[in-house]
Amino acid sequence: MRRYFGRKLLVYGLTFFIAATIDWLIPRFMPGDPVQSLVSRQGFGLSAAGSQALVDYYNRLFGLGRPIWEQYLNFWVSLLHGDLGRSVYLTGRPVTSVIMSAVPYTLALLIPAILLSWWLGNNFGALAARRKWLDNVVLPIGYIFTATPYMWLAIIVAWVFGFILNIFPISGGYSYSMEPSLTLGFLGSLLSHWFMPFISLFLVQFGGWAIGMRNMIIYELDADYSRYLGALGAPSGLVRRYAFRNAVLPQVTGLALQLGVIVSGALVTEIVFSYPGIGKLLLAAIQNEDFFLLQGIFLFVIGGVLIANFLVDIAYVLVDPRTRVGMSGGTA
C-alpha cells in the first residue's frame, strides 16, 4: 500500500512539476514575441515611447531581462510562496487572492455535481442492468447526455428554465441587488443562482456513469464468482450485490480519469451562467489578456485536479481490499 501511494505521489509530483514548467515556458518560448504581441494588442494607438514603456513594463513583470535559469528559479521561489503575480485587469490585486475568492463558487458546483451524479448514476445503471424497460430508457438518454457539450447543455438549461419558464435567474452568483450577507434572503438567492449550473453539470455526467455501471455489471454478472454463486443457488439479490461491489471499482478509477474533463466542463458551464467561479475569471483573463491571472488559474486547476485525484486514490484503497493486502490492484 505504501508503494501504491508512493507511486501515485511520484506521478502527481512529476505532473505538477512538468505542468508548472510548461506554465513558465509558454510565454517565453511560444512563436513570436509575446510581449510585443501583448503590446500591439493593448497599446493600440499609443505613441512609440508609450509602447516602449509598455514593453519595459512587461519585461520587468516577466523578469525577462535576467538569465534563463534565474528566471526559472525565481518562478519556483515565488510559486512556493504562493505568489502567482498580480492581475492586470483587476487593477493589480494578487492573483492568488483573486482566485481564492472564486474558488468557493466553483467547488460548490463541482463537489455536489460530481458526487451526486456518480452515486445516482451508478445506482441507476445497476438498476438498468436488471430491468429491460429501464435499460431501454436509460441507455439512449445517457448517450445523448454524455455526447452533449457541457456548455450547450448549460445553454439549453438556461434557455428553458431561465428564459421560457423563467423559474431561475440566468446569470450571476447571486442577485445584483444584494450585498453578500448571512441572511436567509441572500442564501436563497445564492441557491437559486446555483441550481441551474449545478443541474446542467450533473446531467452531463450522470448519463456516463449510468452507462458505465450498466456495462460493468453485465460484465461482472458473467464473471466466474457470479457463476459459482448461481451454481450454488444463491438468490439473485446476493449475486447482484457482489457484482455491484466489484463493478464500482473501475467506476472509481473512471472518476479519477474523468476529473480533468469534469473540471473543464465546470469552467465552461460557469461561463454560460456568468457564475462567479474560476471559469468566469478565466474568460475575463482571456478577454483582457491578463496572462498572470490565466497562468495562475492554470496552476490552480492542475493543483486542484491532482489533489482530487489523490483523494480518489484514497477512496479506491478504501473500497478495494486488494490494494490493502499489499498486492497489485490499483492502476497507476
Binding site: 452533449t148 480519469l257 480533468g260 473543464s264 454560460v272 474568460l283 492502476t331
Partner: protein, 323 residues
Amino acid sequence: MTATRPADDAQLAVTPDAERAGGQGVPGGLSAPPVRGASEAVGSRREILYFVLRSRKVIVAAAILVVMIVLAVVGPILRPGDPNALVGPLASPPSADYWFGTTTFGQDIFAQFVAGLGASFLVGLAGGGLAAVIGVVIGFVAGYRGGIVDEILSMLTNVVLVIPTLALLLVATAYLAARGLLVEAAFIGLTSWPWAARAIRAQTFSLKSREFVDLARISGVSSWRVIFGEIAPNMSSYLFLTFVLLFGGAILIAASLDFIGLGPTDGTSLGLMMYNAVAWSALQLGLWWWFVPPGIAITAIVGALYVMNVGLDEIFNPRLRES
C-alpha cells in the same frame, strides 16, 4: 530485451491494467479484453458484416454521420462566400430565405452552421488522428518492449493523463495571436492521446504473451514486423474503436476551446457560434435558432460516434452481444 514477467507460469503474472479505457466522458469506454480465445475467434469478415447489418445501433449512428457529412460538404456549395458576412436582416427567426435564421448582426446561421460542421469534422479527423497515432506508437512500444522503456512511457502517459487537457490547451493557445483550425487540432492531438496509449499498451501486453508472437520472433522477423504484422492486425477492431472515441473527444474539446474564445481566429466553428450567441445575449433575447443548431450538431455527431463504438464493440466482442 528484458521481460518483466515470468514466462513459466502465471503465479506472478503482472496483471495488466484491468480498467476500462475512457476518453472524454466516454460512456462505458472500450470493454476490457477483446483478446479472443481460439474457440470464439470470429475471424471471418462475412460474419462481422452480418452483425454490422443487423446492428440497429451501428446503422442509426452511421446514418446520422452520413447526413452530417453530406451537410458539411453540400452546405458550402448552397451558401457560398464568407459565412460571417453580414447578409440579411438582423436577428430574424428561421425563414425560407434563411433556413436557420440570422444573428443579431444579420449573419446567415445556416452558412455558419455548415461551415462549422466542416470545421468540426476537420478538427476531429486531424486531432483524433494525431492522438491515435501517438497513442498507438506509445502503446505498442511500451507494451511490446516492456521493462524500463515501459516504465518511462507509462510514467509519461500518466503525467499527461492527469493534466486537465483543457487547462493546458488554454495557456498554450492563449498566447497565439493567430489560431488556425489545424493548429487547434494539433494541440488537441498532442494532449488527448494518453488513455488510448494506456488501453493499447494493455492490449499489446496481453497479446504479446500469445505464442504466435514468440513464433514470429523465432522465425527471424524484426520487432517492427512483429508489432505491425502480427499484433496490430489482431487489434484492428480495437484500434478503430479507439480512433472513433478520440475523434468524438477531439470535437468536444475543440467546442469547449472555441467556446472560451480560443477557437480559430479565422472562419467559424460550432463552438464559436455558441460563444458568440452567449456573448451577444442570444439567451436573454430568446434567439434560440442561434445556439440550438450548433449544439445539436455536436451532440448528434459525438453521440453517433459513441453509439457506433458500442455497436461495433458488441460485434467485435461476442460476449457483449445480447443473446
